[in-house]
């Protein structure tokens, strides 16, 4: 039940972020400083999330050689191919390979 309510909460928030200017504030503009900061929301949050998802129950970041290798190769493949599918295949492939070798 908690999970469902959490989904609904994010759903409502997402709808509002997509709709607020279209529905209510059509004549308002986002102030320039806010607009500048909004561009950095995605990279900052995603960077933070990558680390947060690796935190174990003891509060330590469980990052080892397999993860670091996967990030380096995945990042390079993303940069070169601009493809999420290739990035996923390369990143997970390296992750499994290095883990198997260790």
């Amino acid at each position: 039940m908690t999970d469902f309510l959490a989904i609904v909460a994010v759903g409502i928030g997402t709808y509002l972020s997509r709709g607020i200017f279209i529905l209510a504030l059509a004549n308002k503009k986002i102030p320039d400083p806010v607009l500048v900061s909004l561009q950095f929301v995605a990279p900052a949050v995603l960077g933070a999330l990558i680390v947060a998802l690796l935190i174990d129950s003891g509060g330590n970041v469980a990052i080892g050689i397999p993860e670091v290798s996967a990030f380096l190769v995945g990042g390079a493949v993303a940069y070169r191919t601009r493809s999420h599918i290739f990035t996923l295949i390369a990143g997970m492939g390296v992750f499994w390979l290095v883990r198997a070798l260790m």
Binding site: T2, D3, F4, A6, I7, V8, A9, V10, G11, G13, T14, Y15, S17, R18, G19, I20, F21, I22, L23, A26, K29, I30, S37, L38, Q39, F40, V41, A42, P43, A44, V45, L46, G47, A48, L49, I50, V51, A52, L53, L54, I55, S57, G59, N60, V61, E67, A70, F71, G74, G75, A78, Y79, R82, H84, I85, T87, L88, G91, M92, F95
Partner: protein, 226 residues
């Protein structure tokens, strides 16, 4: 009211190639739902309640990993804050649309939909509406189907594969593909670094600290660049 089939076809033809990069996200959402222990139907309902890949992955991964519910919700909302920019940019176009469209349209406003519809901003209102609904509803249907497929495959995948790590790889790809100038790289690195340093905070609250400091760092870097 007649429907202009050529516009519908155009919307579908334009939307299909843009859905391809979203396939791994939808699929991994299905897999992560299975691993998170959230009831499959509840998890899958995020596909039509939220309809936004990054926020869904964020929320479900964090709920599944034992983060505080409030922190998971906040993180999901912050990830989706970029939609405010889309809403503001499309608001003038939507002023010429009927009431129902102004209420329904934002529901479909995902990244790809924004990119497509901005190119049609000068169309007459009816053509814009037909195009917007054609591409948007196609994205929506494909999203629900693909994330359900991940849900079906999920239980077959051995736990030893650590598929939840795929979320981190997908997020890395989103960062790399989104970087068009160095302040965004700084925002990502600072966000990750501060989260690392604050990893010991309870309920993964370090995530929000890291995100906030990252946004700040990117903004400052942008100021210095100008």
């Amino acid at each position: 009211m007649s429907l202009d089939r050529s516009i519908v076809r155009q919307g579908i033809v334009d939307a299909l190639p843009l859905f391809v990069p979203a396939v791994p996200f939808a699929f991994v959402i299905g897999l992560v739902i299975v691993e998170s222990g959230i009831s499959p139907f509840v998890g899958w309902s995020s596909s039509w309640i939220i309809f936004g890949g990054a926020a869904q992955l964020t929320l479900i991964s964090l709920l599944g990993s034992g983060a505080a519910v409030a922190a998971a919700i906040t993180a999901g909302l912050v990830v989706n804050a970029r939609h405010l920019m889309y809403s503001a940019a499309l608001a003038p176009v939507f002023q010429q649309q009927p009431h129902w469209m102004r209420w329904f349209g934002p529901y479909l406003l995902i990244d790809q939909q924004f990119a497509l519809s901005m190119l049609r901003a000068d169309d007459d209102p009816k053509t814009f509406r037909t195009y917007y609904l054609s591409s948007g509803l196609l994205f929506w249907a494909l999203w629900l189907i693909t994330s359900a497929l991940g849900l079906v495959v999920g239980p077959v995948v051995p736990e030893a594969w650590n598929l939840e790590f795929a979320v981190s790889i997908l997020f890395l790809g989103l960062i790399v593909l989104g970087i068009d100038r160095y302040p965004k790289l700084i925002a990502a690195l600072v966000g990750a670094g501060v989260t690392y340093l604050t990893a010991g905070l309870p309920n993964r609250a370090g995530l929000l600290v890291g995100a906030f400091v990252g946004i700040l760092a990117g903004t400052i870097a942008e100021r210095l660049r100008e």
